[in-house]
């Protein structure tokens, strides 16, 4: 589907909002990996006397309902979500781009088969696919990464194929070929510079989808299982204590909002 994205933001404004998004994501990533150094302790260690307690020196973000340090839980949960998103998107990008290039370059039957495959995979809503896979595969994190990659590669494939098909018949590529340059040169000089910026958008969007899916399934308790720190799971665990410890519940809510906002801004004016 073609979208008219001559938005109301100027080119400069759009660049600025993208940069802001990147800064947001970077901040969250830094927090996730620095959390173990910011405070001592681990995400599973309990201090039951301090359950739902306010922040103190040992736990700058306070304690959850089982007396576990919130900063550690939040850090571990973010690391888990970000890693799943990273691996899912990386696998999807590698498969999608490679197959897209192949389809565009070879054409013919291979192209038709790949397009048919990707189109028919779109028949299942992504969440459903990930949900069912997670029910079958014992290792949930692996199931999430694999299921999400299976959903996300289609977008990379379609984008690469559509972009490269046009480029491969362009005068520039023809000239390079006539001058005797090989496929690798054509890829590096002609295809990659056009495809790369599109990939960044798709990757940011895919990562947002991945993080959202993992948290949603955790929230409805068919995702990660307790005591694993996971954003959706933390929210559902802390929800009964909303009155006693609103700040504890707001932390994972705020964290996931920041990540998704950052990734969406990085993805730019993309609507779908």
């Amino acid at each position: 589907m073609k979208l008219v994205t001559e938005g109301l933001l100027s080119e400069r404004g759009r660049r600025r909002s993208r940069r802001f998004g990147a800064v947001l994501v970077l901040t969250v990533v830094l927090f996730a990996w620095l959390a173990p150094w910011l405070a001592p302790g681990d995400p599973f260690g309990q201090a039951l006397l301090k359950a739902l307690g306010p922040p103190d020196a040992a736990a700058p973000f306070g304690y959850d309902h089982l007396g576990r340090s919130m900063i550690q839980r939040l850090g571990a949960a973010l690391r888990l979500s970000l890693l799943i998103a990273f691996f899912a998107v990386a696998a999807a990008a590698i498969f999608g781009v490679t197959l897209g290039l192949l389809a565009a370059a070879r054409g013919g039957r291979l192209d038709r088969v790949l397009v048919l495959l990707s189109d028919s995979l779109l028949a299942l809503p992504g969440l459903l696919l990930v949900l069912i896979l997670a029910a079958v595969v014992p290792d949930k994190a692996l199931a999430f990464a694999a299921g999400l990659a299976l959903v996300l590669w289609i977008e990379f494939f379609r984008l690469t194929r559509a972009t490269c098909r046009g480029l491969l018949t362009s005068p520039g590529v023809q000239a390079s070929r006539l001058l005797g340059f090989g496929s690798i040169y054509v890829f590096r000089r002609h295809l990659w510079p056009e495809v790369a910026p599109l990939l960044l958008t798709t990757a940011a969007f895919g990562a947002a989808t991945a993080i959202m899916t993992v948290a949603s399934l955790g929230f409805v308790s068919v995702g990660m299982q307790a005591p694993t720190p996971e954003l959706g799971l933390m929210m559902v665990e802390l929800m009964p204590y909303w009155r006693e410890a609103p700040l504890a519940l707001l932390q994972p809510v705020f964290a996931i909002f920041l990540v998704l906002l950052g990734l969406n801004l990085m993805a730019g004016g993309r609507t779908i």
Partner: protein, 310 residues
């Protein structure tokens, strides 16, 4: 290849995927499947080792995987899902019951989102860069960073827990509809408003629109005669894409609000390892998704016979 054949292929793929994964799920269930089925047939008091052996031989449960898989798929194609392992009721009955509740919720949510999204988007698109346009961009960006379950959570905490205006969960009266439908609708409207805004801005800037103004049509005349139908094509395609959001949303939102629909049923079935129910619900949802996509295809072709709507 015609569109119908392609959709049929999609439906087959959905069925195959659901069939194979639920088969794997069934095989990896702890405990003796034959024992469970035999107990179900003859009653828990009457089952003995001989009955279990007979069941195992009849259904080829202990045997090689391939014949068992074929049998499993065959049963599914004949829509023989069996009975729920949890409630003991036939899966078909349970699903037809749940589907009604889900369709109600989905219809209300879709209607609400159509009342909210496109009118706002079109108004904003007619004055690109205006204050409504800017506000809408900010709002939809914020909404899109809020996953549906989070939106539901925020609504429950604010409207039900703090204000006490509406029930947080349940099913039955009109009041129960408001929060889950609003949760679904806000997510959908955020997208359809953006699409409507972009499409309207493009149409309003087009030469034929300017020409219609030149020949003397008023603001509303030109919009109703030349604008709306052109705006509606991308909107309808967007509606088709939104069905993904709707199906996924139904799974999440129904679980959050305890709505007795098919998404809630699926989540519960997976949680309780109720394989026949997983099979039935996942199959129905997947097939409904394919069906709606086929219907949207047809509608778009009717609205825009140029066939360029992609």
């Amino acid at each position: 290849m015609t569109a119908a054949v392609f959709r049929l292929l999609q439906a087959l793929l959905v069925a195959l995927f659901v069939g194979v994964t639920t088969f794997v799920m069934m095989r990896s269930l702890p405990g003796d499947m034959a024992w469970r089925i035999a107990a179900h047939r003859y009653g828990y008091d009457l089952v003995d080792a001989d009955a279990v052996r007979l069941v195992r031989e009849e259904l080829a449960l202990g045997g090689p995987a391939l014949p068992a898989l074929l049998q499993w798929l065959g049963d599914m194609v004949r829509l023989e899902f069996g009975t729920s392992l949890v409630s003991g009721a036939p899966v078909v009955d349970e699903i037809s019951h749940q589907l009604g509740a889900s369709l109600q919720l989905a219809a209300v949510a879709l209607l609400l989102s159509l009342l909210l999204g496109p009118p706002l988007g079109i108004t904003a698109g007619l004055r690109p860069g205006g204050s409504l346009d800017r506000g809408l961009l900010l709002l939809s960006t914020g909404l899109r960073a809020l996953p549906q379950f989070l939106l539901g959570l925020v609504l429950i905490l604010l409207v039900s827990v703090e204000l006490g205006w509406l029930p947080a969960a349940g099913y039955g009266t009109g009041a129960h509809f408001v929060l889950p439908a609003l949760t679904l609708a806000l997510g959908l409207a955020a997208l359809s408003a953006r699409i409507a805004r972009d499409a309207t801005a493009a149409v309003a800037a087009s030469p034929y629109y300017a020409f219609a103004r030149q020949k003397g049509l008023g603001d509303s005349q030109v919009f109703w005669r030349h604008g709306l139908r052109n705006v509606s094509v991308p909107l309808l395609t967007c509606l088709g894409l939104q069905f993904v959001t709707l199906v996924e949303g139904v799974v999440v939102v129904e679980s959050v609000f305890g709505w007795p629909g098919i998404g809630h049923g699926l989540v519960h079935a997976i949680f309780g390892r109720d394989v026949p129910m997983v099979q039935g619900t996942a199959l129905v949802m997947g097939l409904a998704f394919v069906l709606v996509n086929a219907l949207i295809d047809a509608a778009v072709r009717r609205l825009d016979p140029r066939g360029a709507a992609g």
